[in-house]
Symmetry: C2
Subunit: 410 residues, 2 copies
């Protein structure tokens, strides 16, 4: 008998019918002999409805009040799911984050979990109950309601699984697992049976938004086996595990890409200490998130400095950079929004030389010009013109043997 | 500087605009130098929306889960009102029933308040904040969310006022006070400046549903001055006070009536001990609420037994009574749904003989036949055919000098 934590997102509980389907799925796990703790999000649309009410009153509402407001969304779902379980003859109890003492810091809207008091849950499980917990929320030491930020229900589920020493944390979504790349770009993309936490982190941060990144970090840190599954179809999903548990490891696990990047370049900056800070400092102070950063030595004692930001921040960043470039006496500032970042991810590349070389050759063979390159221990990212996205992904997918076998395709 | 508890019902907070108007009203009280604690209901329609969701899942949902579900309604309002106050520059904080520890028993859906921990509220008031508390809800000793039953926000407000030793508890509704009778029946009905708790109890239980009856009992018990006012218009409202504080007391304060009564009569029951129980016992066991009960000695060692129930229970009660009447060997069972109960209420009638006689004469002069009479210390009730309702109320209103002076009309 295992202890499973299951998490269902807003779409999975978006109507009373879907809540009923979730109840059926939970009961199947119970019938298989497992104890089940369920973490739920607000019904889809509900959080936005509440935020909209708040914004009608105040453009920037007090964060404490906003958290108390939107936390009601998950509370509603827990009660409804608990009723749906009881209707099917399964004993169940719902809890808010405060009731199971998911203690967080006081950073309203983006609180971090500090501890969970599990004794209420454990007692209920012993009594044969399914425990339904509101995701996304907690309580600070003063008793104020806090929320963990968008997607925080994943984090709630992982934290509960860690605190309860659960055998598996199952994240039910609208996809049936983690894929080698986006199937909308490469129809031969294949569901991975397993992937390591580190690979998953790289995939998630690169735009494969299956899981909230903080929940993956959390799961890795506390060694909680995490599984991504579909709440609309049966199947084994993708298991996210520690590296040493992976038996047969492909060199490359997947190809991630991110369309939402824009590039800014300052050419011919006099190369002196503090140049990078002079440019990026004011950008960061304006709360603009910077992704890739590259600096190359140029000619004549000058340097070329490039970084990428999200599209939404591009114009603002360009203004700041132009101002700084003038102060620094740089030669030229340029920018480009028509780019895409493509990344190979795989823990296997640590022990395999030549992955980068092979990647560059594949792109060269397709006449795709590389604008930027950045590497880390388990990933290689390139920036190319966005028109090459599909061509690049498909070529790499085939070259690194990620394609599904022909026989298994629909 | 006084401490005022203000309570706003669902209609008063039914939209973001109305929540804004409530914020304005709260701030006026602050500007007058008073400390203010606000108790709010769910936005109108919200509780029914949530109950409807629950009923789609389960016809009779678990009461614990239902309470957790519907308690979100008030929580939403508290956060929104707190934001509206902050937007206007007034410091404010919202609290759920659990957060201010409104401790109740575990009778879900109809819990009773046992204690309130006021130190959080007191600290906030000292810091210059308006405290916004969710009405209708509390928490039991296990930490489960409870609700007090429909209209329970009034009770929350009175209990908070009692615990905080507030100077006044103001209940804002869609009427501007307590009237001598229903203005829709008698246009010359007059707003009372004050009324005693006992009179208010009789008025409320007789169908003048301005306040939840339990809140009036509570206010009387703890001697909390209670005022009923309109949230849509300015005015002094009606103050509900202890009898000995009433300076100038009219003999009759008002005329209440109840259209929702049906009469059942058993004639010719052999008059032996236990007859009343034989008839009413099975009725009560079927959860039918009985209002008036009369028993008259009849002829030939038999007795006539009459009682009234709500219309909705009439058919069911009739079936039970027929069965019992047969067992008891009664002569006849009859019933009547076309009746109305009219009551004169006033603490002054204690010291004034002849009120009943005057009432019966007024009705006789209008040729109105009285079917039943029942009296208590501060009220006299008669049951008459429902077609006489308006005539009876207007005649009594004039005869007992309750009419508004002509000059003040329209």
């Amino acid at each position: 008998m295992a202890l499973i934590v299951q998490k269902y997102g807003g779409t999975s509980v978006g109507s009373v019918e879907r809540i009923g389907a979730v109840a059926d799925r939970v009961i199947r796990a119970r019938q298989a002999g497992d104890d089940v703790v369920v973490v739920v999000s607000a019904m889809s649309g509900e959080t936005n409805r509440l935020i909209d009410l708040a914004k009608q009153i105040q453009e920037r509402p007090c964060e404490r009040e906003l958290d108390s407001l939107i936390a009601t969304g998950e509370q509603v779902t827990t009660a409804l799911l608990s009723m749906a379980l009881q209707k099917r003859g399964q004993k169940a109890r719902s809890y808010t984050g405060a009731q199971v003492k998911i203690l967080t810091d006081s950073a309203f809207n983006k609180a971090r979990i500090q501890s969970i008091d599990t004794h209420v849950i454990t007692d209920d499980l012993k009594a044969g109950r399914v425990v339904v917990v509101a995701g996304f929320q907690g309580v600070n030491a003063n008793g104020d309601i806090t929320t963990l930020g968008r997607g925080g229900s994943d984090t709630s589920a992982v934290a509960l699984a860690a605190a309860l020493n659960a055998d598996e944390c199952q994240i039910y979504t609208d996809v049936d697992g983690v894929y080698t790349t986006d199937p909308r770009v490469e129809p031969r993309a294949r569901r991975l049976d397993q992937i390591t936490f580190e690979e998953m982190l790289e995939m998630a941060s690169l735009g494969s938004k299956v899981l909230q990144i903080r929940s993956v970090e959390f799961a890795g840190k506390y060694n909680v086996p995490l599984r991504v599954l579909s709440s609309f179809a049966d199947g084994p999903g993708t298991l996210i595990t520690l590296e040493d548990e992976v038996v047969e490891q492909a060199v490359i696990s997947g190809i991630a890409f991110n369309r939402d990047e824009a590039q800014l370049t300052v050419n011919g900056v006099p190369d002196s200490p503090g140049v990078a800070y002079s440019i990026l400092g004011p950008v960061a102070e304006s709360n603009i998130e910077v992704d890739m950063v590259l600096q190359n030595t140029g000619r004549d004692g000058t340097t070329d400095f490039t970084f990428t930001v999200q599209h939404v921040d591009y114009e603002k960043a360009l203004g700041i950079v132009r101002e700084q470039a003038e102060k620094l006496g740089a030669r030229e500032v340029s920018g480009n929004t028509k780019i895409v970042k493509i990344s190979l991810v795989g823990v296997g590349m640590r022990s395999h030389a030549g992955i980068a070389a092979k990647m560059f050759k594949v792109l060269a063979d397709e006449q795709i010009n590389i604008r930027m390159i950045s590497t880390s221990e388990i990933k290689i990212s390139v920036v190319v013109d966005d028109k090459y996205l599909e061509l690049a992904v498909r070529s790499l997918h085939e070259a690194f043997e990620l394609d599904a076998p022909i026989a298994s395709i629909g």
